[in-house]
């Protein structure tokens, strides 16, 4: 038997190869570059790589949209319209997210533990802090995670899907445990994420095994073809699809597979929370849309009850539980759960408009999420003691945000904008996103879902606006003894990120047309 080497489309895999290659080079930088130069080297590398990857994605946009995409590595890597569009979104958002990683603020410390291996509260940790050590491994880790995300949205078979899912999850498990402040909480979050994430991966793998048992193939296209030709094995098919989707539901944080989300989002260093809330969710939705639209159509009637239940539960639980949160990060976590529900509504349109609306919504959601968490990194607790005022970790309790609008009008204004976008107020991007998603779903016959979605959005306005009212119309809390709240100055990176996210949110709200049109080209999946 002769073996034919697979055709490799170097241009098509270049963005992925650059990102993963940068991760590897980043590890070598950690090994060989002197400590003092590491951070700068990593930053130059990472941003150069991300910009190069973005340019390469833009460069192949026209060809990919015209030809409908290419199938590489024997169908394991399908670079079609949706894959390329989501890869572009992921790279843009990663540039923003990694910039927040790099910010040391006026305190002179980044958000990560100086020596992650030190036992919390130990002498060694204190020594590392005093020596000003930094864990610059976060940049290669982010690159590996992004590599997995770029791969998962183009995964044409279930094995590639699984490998990509692991590749995107593993670095995030580590990143979650690296918070500089409240390290035990951070490590607990990391462990919870690892355990529940492994569980979800196992379910996904089990689903893949059942689908292989059903169709004799791991390729999504061949599984889809088998649904029409193989009779009598519906149990395997439906069981496999359900388990596969549960694995992906877990990653997007859809109810009832959301339990990890609040704890992990709260425990993780806030820049990492922003990164994973935006990009992981987008990547997992990319994979889910592919699975649902390639394999799903012939099973639409069988899968719809489950998908509808999950979508409704996600919107309702996300919104209702967010109403009673008193912690900003936790509130944003539940809000991100609710948003996963809104995206699911778009997925359930089962139409090309549905795909375009999902792609658009993900861009909008990602921008506002990274912006909002970037704002959270700058509002800090202080303690006034004998040796003056010390700036501590983030002030995440809602009460601490009272009166922020008066002290830092720009910061509070930007956060208000992101919150209004989350709420879907007209003239922000969120409105355009919700409008397109709900229109597509209504046209696709999912009217009950749209009704629930609109009601949930209306209820969600309450907790977003509550924070805005708190920032602008509530008098500042009296300084109670030595505890206080202050806003630290960004060292530049975060300011730029917040500005870009804010401008993007306004621009996409006022003029959603061009981007919608662009994403409207990217709606055809390769089988």
């Amino acid at each position: 038997m002769s073996y034919a080497a697979p055709h490799i489309g170097w241009l098509q895999i270049a963005p992925l190869a650059i990102v993963l290659g940068t991760g590897l080079v980043g590890v070598l930088v950690e090994a060989f570059v002197p400590r003092r130069a590491r951070r700068t080297t990593q930053l130059v590398l990472v941003f150069a790589a991300l910009v190069a990857a973005l340019l390469l994605i833009v460069a192949q946009w026209r060809d990919t949209m015209a030809s409908g995409g290419v199938s590489l590595f024997g169908g394991s890597y399908l670079l079609d319209g949706p894959a390329l569009a989501i890869q572009g979104t992921l790279v843009v958002l990663s540039i923003l997210a990694v910039a927040v990683f790099a910010d040391r603020t006026s305190v002179g410390q980044d958000a990560f533990a100086p020596a992650a291996a030190a036992v919390p509260g130990s002498d060694y940790e204190e020594l590392a802090r005093r020596k000003g050590l930094e864990q610059t491994e976060v940049y290669p880790l982010a690159m590996f995670g992004l590599g997995g995300m770029l791969l998962i949205v183009a995964a044409g078979d279930l094995l590639t899907l699984f490998v990509a899912l692991e590749a995107l999850s593993m670095p995030l498990y580590v990143l979650t445990g690296l918070a500089r402040r409240r390290r035990l909480l951070s490590q607990e979050a990391s462990l919870k994420y690892l355990l529940l994430g492994s569980f979800a991966s196992a379910l996904l793998l089990f689903g893949a095994a059942l689908l292989y048992g059903f169709s004799g193939s791991l390729h999504l296209g061949e599984i889809a073809a088998a649904t029409g030709t193989i009779a009598g094995l519906e149990g395997l098919l439906l069981g496999g699809m359900t388990l596969l989707l549960i694995g992906l539901f877990f990653k997007v944080g859809a109810v009832p597979f959301h339990a990890w989300t609040p704890d992990v989002y709260v425990g993780a260093p806030t820049p990492v929370t922003g990164f994973m809330a935006a990009t992981t969710k987008i990547a997992a939705f990319g994979a889910m849309v592919r699975v649902v639209y390639v394999v799903g159509p012939s099973l639409q009637w069988d899968l719809e009850p489950m998908l509808w239940t999950v979508a409704i539960l996600t919107m309702v639980v996300g919104t209702v539980v967010a109403l009673v949160q008193t912690d900003v990060k936790r509130m944003l976590a539940y809000s991100s759960i609710a948003h996963a529900g809104f995206v699911l509504v778009g997925v359930l349109a089962f139409s090309t408009e549905g795909i375009a609306s999902v792609l658009f919504y993900l861009v909008v959601y990602g921008l506002a999420t990274i912006g909002a968490f970037a704002v959270v990194t700058l509002v800090r607790q202080t303690r006034t003691g004998a040796e003056g005022t010390v700036i501590l970790g983030e002030a995440t309790h809602l009460a601490q945000w009272a009166g922020l609008g008066r002290r830092s009008p720009w910061l509070a204004g930007a956060l208000s904008l992101f919150l209004l976008s989350f709420a879907g107020i007209p003239l922000t991007a969120g409105f355009a996103g919700k409008f397109t998603v709900f229109t597509a779903a209504a046209d696709g016959g999912a009217v009950p879902l749209v009704v629930v979605g609109v009601i949930a959005s209306a209820a969600a306005v309450f907790f977003y606006v509550r924070l805005i009212v708190l920032m602008y119309f509530t008098p500042e809390r009296e300084e109670e003894g030595e505890e206080g709240v202050t806003v630290v100055t960004s060292s530049g990176f975060t300011t730029v990120v917040i500005a870009v996210a804010a401008i993007g949110t306004v621009l996409l709200g006022v003029l959603p047309g061009p981007l919608l049109e662009l994403l409207g080209q990217a709606v055809k999946f390769l089988p």
Binding site: L28, A31, P120, D123
Partner: protein, 120 residues
């Protein structure tokens, strides 16, 4: 003609009986003499680690060795396939495997430079 899955069912039954039987038999007829070592938490081959009180430092060499071993182990698993099909896979297989080896070497360089192999 019985159902082809019956043997699997029987195998499952035997496995269950063996597992529960082993536990049950040792619980019933096994000697119950406890000493300190027996009551310790079992941690694969090393002293149970102390809790993180008073600095709580413990050696992590064991984990480094374990991880290093596992990665080499997996590396060999992949090399076997390549060795068996060396001539069929030709140049493509050679380049791919070499790339794989390079990728897998990077973490060792990191471990080496960061003092992971200094056990003094």
């Amino acid at each position: 003609m019985t159902n082809p899955y019956v043997p699997i069912l029987i195998l499952g039954g035997v496995a269950l009986v063996l597992a529960l039987g082993g536990l049950g038999a040792s619980a019933i007829i096994g000697p119950k003499r406890y000493n300190r070592a027996k009551l310790d938490a079992y941690e694969c081959g090393i002293e149970p680690t102390p809790h993180a009180v008073g600095g709580g430092r413990f050696p992590i060499k064991y984990y480094l060795v374990a991880m290093t071993f596992i990665v080499f182990d997996i590396e060999v698993v992949f090399l076997y396939q390549w060795a068996v099909n060396f001539s069929e896979l030709a140049l493509f297989g050679f380049v791919a495997t070499m790339l794989f080896l390079v990728v897998i070497t990077v973490p060792y360089l990191y471990e080496w430079r960061r003092g992971g192999f200094e056990w003094a």
